[in-house]
């Protein structure tokens, strides 16, 4: 194993910090941790962002199949009580992530690259849309 920092929690924390700086602290959650959802205590926050980070496949040109880099995919779901609130969260998330370089361990990632966006629509008790992003470390 040669690729740097493969603990997805470390990646999640770094991205959540960047998002919180734009959308506000206490507004970035993992799936299953949102107050008022999934049987959790409290009320559903008016505006919040759901963040998932997963390692993605990267091809290797080396016969040893060793990787010196690792590829990652970030999915953000921005949620609000109105389309406008969800769009606000989307814009802030975009500002936070677009072209941003993450510092993880001793390495700096490639600039975060936008992959795709889905429009905002009714989603349970709220309205939400989503975007995905990729980067390599």
């Amino acid at each position: 194993m040669t690729a740097p920092e493969l603990d997805e929690r470390v990646h999640w924390d770094a991205i959540a910090d960047a998002l919180a700086a734009e959308v506000g602290t206490g507004r970035v959650f993992k799936y299953g941790d949102v107050p008022g959802l999934d049987g959790n205590a409290g009320d559903i926050p008016p505006i919040f962002v759901l963040l998932t980070v997963q390692r993605r496949y990267t091809s290797t040109g080396r016969l040893s199949a060793r990787h010196s880099r690792s590829g990652w995919r970030v999915s953000t779901r921005y949620v609000g009580r109105t389309v406008d609130e969800a769009a606000w969260a989307a814009l802030r998330a975009t500002r936070a992530l677009d072209d941003m370089r993450l510092s993880i361990g001793t390495r700096t990632s490639t600039p975060i690259h936008h992959e795709s966006t889905q429009s905002i629509k009714p989603d349970g008790a709220r309205l939400s849309g989503s975007s995905s992003w990729t980067y390599a470390l």
């Binding site: 759901l50 998932t52 496949y57 091809s59 999915s75 995905s132």
Partner: protein, 131 residues
């Protein structure tokens, strides 16, 4: 030993006549091969979620299909008209209640570099058909 390659304008002219014909046939083959492979991979990811780890919407993976939509254009993914294909948006991109599966995104991670190389090989082969 010496290898001598000689060409003249007649060869070039004949190559240029052949290229559009070869490109139409081989271009279609490259696109078709890649959408079939991309679909196979995405469908495998979907099967993992819906048949290995659970049986909810078990008809979702069979909705993954590929088709040519033009001479050198194709698409693959869940078809809303087949089985549980209409659930695709919720599974692919997730919702407030469930994280995204990214079956298509993950298949692209594998297919996109291969597709690029296939196209590059095809373009080279147009001028060096024997190689």
């Amino acid at each position: 030993m010496r290898i001598t390659v000689s060409h003249n304008l007649a060869d070039l002219e004949s190559d240029l006549r052949k290229i559009p014909r070869i490109l139409r046939k081989e271009g279609r083959r490259v696109v078709q091969h890649n959408i079939v492979e991309g679909n196979r991979i995405a469908k495998a990811f979907a099967s993992e979620q819906h048949t290995m780890f659970g049986d909810e919407d078990i008809e979702y993976p069979p909705s993954f299909t590929s088709e040519m939509t033009g001479p050198m254009r194709g698409e693959y993914g869940p078809d809303a008209a087949i089985g549980d294909g209409s659930q695709a948006e919720g599974y692919e991109h997730g919702s407030i209640n469930s994280p995204p599966h990214n079956d298509l995104g993950r298949s692209l991670d594998q297919i996109a570099p291969e597709f690029g190389m296939d196209v590059s090989d095809l373009v080279s082969s147009l001028f060096w058909p024997e190689s």
